[in-house]
């Protein structure tokens, strides 16, 4: 429980840390000790050497995810352009086959600004929260958000420039996102305007895709510029309140990425590709609390770590269901 609370706190900006002896299971302690025996160390070194000699390369989840983002956003576009009523509206609020859907972050702002509960909005928000609770809150980020996809391409460019030594990554404090979340909700309440929606790249990109380009896209271009030249995944990592809202939505989600300590060689490749690498600190040697554990609330379920792990130590799982099957 304390270990889970730590993971929750990490979503709100605290630094990742090692599991304390009290948070460690006996299984995990034995496993960690076993992995340090000379025999095991030798085996691990051999396995790592083998990886380097015969590298495996998978993009399974990446392609599935990109397909998901593109298809979902294309459905919005198609629905309007050809007037087939599949998903009307945009990502802030829509009707999927007639059912109301509303982005919980936008809905909360509207409610705070307007200071009245609106039934349709409540139904739409409840539907979305239910849906994203199942697949894991921030799965919205990596499986639906169109800005996420563009930001991934910007990130690839950033990493390329980084390898060339032309740019440097400037990290920010992850608590910034929490502070901004509170400020934007307070601003909605006190000004009576949905202030954050003015700089929300998700809404801007979604509407531009569906209703045609706007000059507001210049703001999105500016953000991408920051991400390419100054700070890797600046918006998604340190600013976006929508990500935090969805993170809270899926804090105890059934769909999880599972970490298997017994298979892990502690090379840290997963942490290098991760959007939220603090959630993968448990893969460092000696950090895990159990031999098998879930990654936790801030994870976007993007699957990049699963693709990159040469030992299949990380995998998608459904909480509870994995024990039955």
């Amino acid at each position: 429980m304390r270990w889970y609370l730590h993971k929750l706190a990490m979503m709100f900006g605290t630094l990742p840390r090692k599991a304390t002896p009290a948070e460690e299971t006996d299984r995990a302690r034995d496993m960690k000790r076993f992995q340090k025996t000379p025999d095991e160390v030798k085996k691990r070194k051999a396995a790592i050497q083998d990886e380097h000699d015969n590298p495996v390369f998978s993009r399974k989840w990446l392609y599935r995810r990109w397909a998901s983002i593109i298809i979902i956003n294309a459905l919005f576009i198609v629905s309007f352009t050809w007037d087939v009523q599949l998903v009307e509206g945009s990502l802030t609020a829509s009707r999927f086959l007639g059912f109301h859907m509303a982005d919980p972050n936008a809905a909360l702002q509207v409610t705070l600004a307007y200071k009245e509960l609106m039934l349709n909005l409540l139904i739409g928000t409840a539907t979305v929260i239910g849906l994203w609770w199942i697949v894991g809150g921030r799965a919205f980020c990596s499986w639906v958000c169109p800005y996420h996809l563009i930001a991934e391409w910007a990130e690839a460019l950033h990493l390329w420039l980084h390898r060339k030594g032309w740019v440097k990554d400037h990290p920010f404090h992850r608590g910034l996102r929490v502070v901004l979340w509170v400020i934007f909700m307070a601003l909605a309440w006190f000004t009576g305007y949905t202030v954050f929606e003015y700089i929300n790249p998700v809404g801007i990109v979604s509407r531009a895709l569906i209703y045609g380009p706007t000059i507001a896209l210049m703001w999105v271009a500016f953000l991408l510029g920051i991400e390419v030249f100054f700070s890797r995944r600046f918006w998604c990592r340190y600013v976006c309140p929508i990500g935090l809202t969805y993170g809270i939505t899926g804090a105890v989600a059934p769909v999880q990425v599972k970490y298997d300590l017994s298979k892990c060689l502690h090379e840290g490749e997963c942490r290098q590709v991760c959007l939220v690498p603090h959630v993968l600190e448990i893969t460092k040697m000696g950090y895990a609390s159990d031999t098998e554990e879930f990654i936790g609330p801030d994870c976007t379920r993007c699957g990049l770590c699963i693709d990159v792990c040469p030992q299949d130590a990380l995998s998608f799982t459904v909480r509870g269901l994995d024990k039955i099957i």
Binding site: K115, H173, V195, V239
Partner: protein, 258 residues
């Protein structure tokens, strides 16, 4: 040798590289936080100065509440058969993504047979309290340029109301009740120009009244009545450039600017 003991200089605490990095990171974070909030508040300026005084779709609640209650999804845009509803851009501040109607380009002519946009609205920004077109209150029409008005001059009108290039649509019931036709496809031949009255979709909202008691005086004045809902069809159809008749927003009317 001095007997007064020298006060030892306060040892300057040298920050390690790690501490320095962390301090910089924190400063950057505070800066970024201020920048993000500042950027979001830029949207306040166009709203406060009312650079854009927009006609909102049918059922829109008063402007200030409307901007708050609208979730900026554009579902109202999608259901409008004549595509009269557009979404505001970044230069409109908090009007970004909020629907408006540019009546001169495409008026709300109720081709949908009343308030589809209201039914589409997922929040209460377009209030569900209205169900018929007569209950709509977008604004109020006003003869803004009486000197330009053809009827006021006693003139007739022959030809296309807005020229061949005009893209606007209008419901011509006698042609097809369910398929709005391009205004540019319909030729008029009127002895006295009465386009604003003829094409008004609301009953008893506007009429042409004689200007004098002289029965030979052909001049007529368009008079807007209480029933006007501000749909803007008169403004769209007015053949003079710019339109002699315009629709004032509720906000402009409330401030007595109209």
């Amino acid at each position: 040798m001095t007997d007064a003991p020298e006060t030892p200089a306060k040892p300057k605490k040298r920050l390690t590289r790690r501490e320095l990095e962390r301090r910089r990171m924190l400063m950057r974070s505070v800066g970024a936080g201020f920048a993000a909030v500042a950027a979001s508040l830029v949207g306040l300026y166009p709203v406060m100065t009312r650079i854009f005084d927009r006609l909102r779709p049918p059922g829109a609640i008063p402007e200030k509440q409307f901007l708050a209650a609208c979730i900026k999804c554009g579902q109202c845009v999608q259901v409008c058969p004549v595509e009269a509803i557009k979404l505001g851009d970044g230069d409109e501040g908090y009007g970004l993504g909020v629907p408006y109607i540019d009546a001169r380009k495409q008026a709300c002519d109720f081709s949908c047979d009343a308030v589809q946009c209201v039914l589409a609205c997922p929040t209460g920004a377009l209030t569900h309290d209205i169900a018929t077109k007569e209950e709509v209150d977008i604004g109020f029409a006003r003869l803004a340029r009486p000197d330009a008005c053809l009827a006021m001059k006693g003139d007739g009108f022959k030809g296309l109301a807005r020229g061949a290039d005009f893209e606007g649509l209008l419901r011509y019931e006698e042609i097809d009740r369910w398929d709005p036709q391009p205004v540019a496809s319909y030729e008029y031949d009127l002895e006295i120009c009465d386009l604003c009255v003829r094409e008004c979709p609301i009953e008893n909202a506007i009429s042409l009244e004689p200007v004098s008691d002289d029965p030979d005086d052909k001049r007529r004045m368009p008079v807007v009545h209480e029933a006007c809902v501000g749909c803007g069809t008169c403004e769209m159809m007015c053949p003079t450039e710019p339109a002699a008749i315009v629709v004032d927003t509720g906000l402009a009317l409330a401030r007595g600017e109209a």
